[in-house]
């Protein structure tokens, strides 16, 4: 076990470490000897050189999603991209209509942006997912109205890893002339994106889920047919007026390099992730009363979201102190609310409270997975010994029939 680095990181969907190749490229854009210039400086070579590095990065990002470089707008991350895309498109097109469609399982960056638009007089439809986490296309078609201007659906869900059929959604929105925004924060390097084939008009990206740095992202904005946005941040007119602010060369170079590596290594990495994911699932799936959340097939490799019934998620995480994972139970906040994503796919509160998300990545190993299997089995067994609900389950009592004192 000496090769194991404790604690083991299995939370790659929260963020990834920066790849060493990426860090090296970034480090070259900071100091006096490096490429530190302002890419907007037109009057000297410091600016020209920085601009060149930014444009190389733009090409790398564009290539991964089948776009042209001019369609890439740098932002501070996927949250800002979501805000710019949804608010920007909804506001620009408000004379045409004020109706937006999204899903209940979207990231908060989309949901809270939509809530804000509701306060500003827009109307938003929040679609329920099917039990496997996917959008019901027939139900979706029925929600489209004359005044629907923007549809925002995420590509890969951050909690359960399911992949929406964005091509099918894009075919529908294109036919209806509706702007289609996709939050693809979790996709790069894990699932192929082709904005033309998928008829995507706006696509949010970030670097820190794909071994790039935090604090940098991009929004793809389609040029043909041209999508116009109301800018949300005003200033020097950078990024064709869509997002003002001095471009952070080192961050952009980092994102470009991480996307270049993702493009080159995606196929091999996915194969390895799938093997690790299957190894972990095979190691625990015979346990009693465990449930896989989200579709197993329509899912990125590297994500397992499992509910361990009759065990509370936060205490399970506490038991797994040598393993960094995340829980769908937000008991640490005062709200005591279980995951809204798991609730939306129809999991009851108990199962939502009992969930753990394992996400593997570039530096995960078989040894780490095997260690995790052992620890998870031990922890669940220990906590079930402590659980009155497990006792009741073993006695054959239906927990739904019990009258609980809700507090």
């Amino acid at each position: 076990m000496s090769s194991l680095n404790i604690p083991i990181y299995l939370d790659y969907s929260a963020t990834t470490p920066v790849d060493e190749r990426v860090a090296a490229a970034m480090a070259e854009c900071l100091t006096m000897q490096g490429n530190f210039g302002n890419p907007a400086s037109r009057s000297h070579p410091f600016g020209w050189k920085a601009e060149e590095a930014v444009e190389t990065a733009r090409r790398n990002v564009a290539e991964l999603i089948g776009a042209v470089p001019k369609e890439i707008v740098w932002t501070s991350g996927a949250t800002e991209s979501d805000n710019l895309a949804i608010k920007g498109a909804a506001e620009f097109n408000q004379k045409k209509g004020k109706h937006i469609i999204t899903m209940k399982t979207e990231h908060k960056a989309v949901l809270d942006t939509c809530r804000q638009l509701e306060r500003d007089g827009f109307e938003v439809t929040y679609m329920d997912p099917l039990e496997n986490g996917l959008l019901d296309l027939e139900a979706f078609k029925k929600e489209i109205r004359e005044d629907t201007t923007v549809v925002s659906i995420m590509h890969v869900n951050n909690e359960i890893g399911v992949i929406q059929d964005v091509a099918a959604i894009g075919a529908i929105t294109r036919e209806k002339g509706i702007i289609f925004h996709v939050d693809a924060a979790q996709s790069p390097g894990k699932v192929a994106i082709d904005v033309d084939a998928m008829n995507i008009d706006l696509l949010s990206l970030c670097a820190h889920k794909v071994y790039g740095p935090k604090g940098i992202g991009a929004l793809y904005v389609r040029r043909k047919p041209r999508i116009r946005l109301e800018a949300q941040i005003h200033g020097g007119g950078h990024e064709r007026g869509m997002r003002s602010g001095t471009l952070p060369t080192h961050q952009i170079v980092g994102m470009g390099e991480s996307f270049r590596i993702a493009r080159e290594e995606m196929a091999a990495e996915n194969e390895r992730m799938r093997a690790l994911r299957d190894r972990l699932w095979d190691g625990v799936k015979d346990m009693e009363e465990i449930y896989l959340n989200g579709d197993l097939e329509q899912r990125i490799p590297g994500n397992l979201n499992i509910s361990f019934n009759f065990v509370e998620g936060e205490s399970l995480i506490m038991s797994l102190k040598d393993i960094a994972v995340s829980s769908g139970s937000a008991c640490t906040s005062a709200s005591l609310e279980p995951s809204y994503v798991l609730r939306a796919i129809g999991r009851n509160d108990e199962l939502a409270h009992s969930s753990i998300r394992f996400t593997m990545g570039r530096y995960s190993t078989e040894e780490e997975v095997d260690f995790t299997i052992t620890k998870v089995r031990e922890a669940v067994e220990k906590l079930r010994e402590l659980s009155p609900l497990w006792d009741m389950h073993k006695e054959g009592i239906d927990l739904d029939s019990v009258e609980w004192a809700h507090h």
């Binding site: 509160d349 108990e350 609900l389 507090h407």
Partner: protein
């Protein structure tokens, strides 16, 4: 979130985990909380004829602080009279375990569990004495 050493100690080495016979006339059982809220505590006390708590057992579904709170309570109640046990307040539990504000509800739940267990044993004893009187 960092846990206090006391919470970690009770979580890793929980005291008095187990089950007493809930049909035993000398056992009071209190079960509080709800699975949907993320915590359920079952506290059981075995009470002598003289009203002294001789044994206590618990099982808890919940976060580490909920488990630690109930484990601590089983230690606190032993050897006390029912009246003394009824005096144990959530603030004492929270202070002893150094619970952060977001975890105060765990100590409140533990206090509720004590109250429920006392109510159960008292109800059993009253039922017994009224049976004796009618007999």
């Amino acid at each position: 979130m960092a846990y206090s050493d006391k919470v970690l100690d009770h979580y890793e080495n929980p005291r008095n985990v187990g089950v007493l016979d809930k049909d035993d006339p000398n056992v009071g059982t209190g079960m509080v909380g709800a699975p949907a809220c993320g915590d359920v505590m079952r506290l059981q006390i075995q009470v002598s004829e003289e009203g002294i708590v001789e044994d206590a057992k618990f099982k808890t579904y919940g976060c580490g602080s909920a488990i630690a709170s109930s484990s601590l309570v089983t230690e606190m109640v032993k050897g006390k009279t029912l009246d003394e046990v009824a005096e144990i307040k959530n603030a004492t539990i929270a202070e002893e375990l150094a619970l952060p504000p977001v975890k105060i509800h765990c100590s409140v739940l533990a206090e509720d569990a004590i109250a429920a267990a006392i109510a159960d044993i008292k109800a059993k004893r009253e039922a017994q004495s009224s049976q004796k009187e009618s007999a």
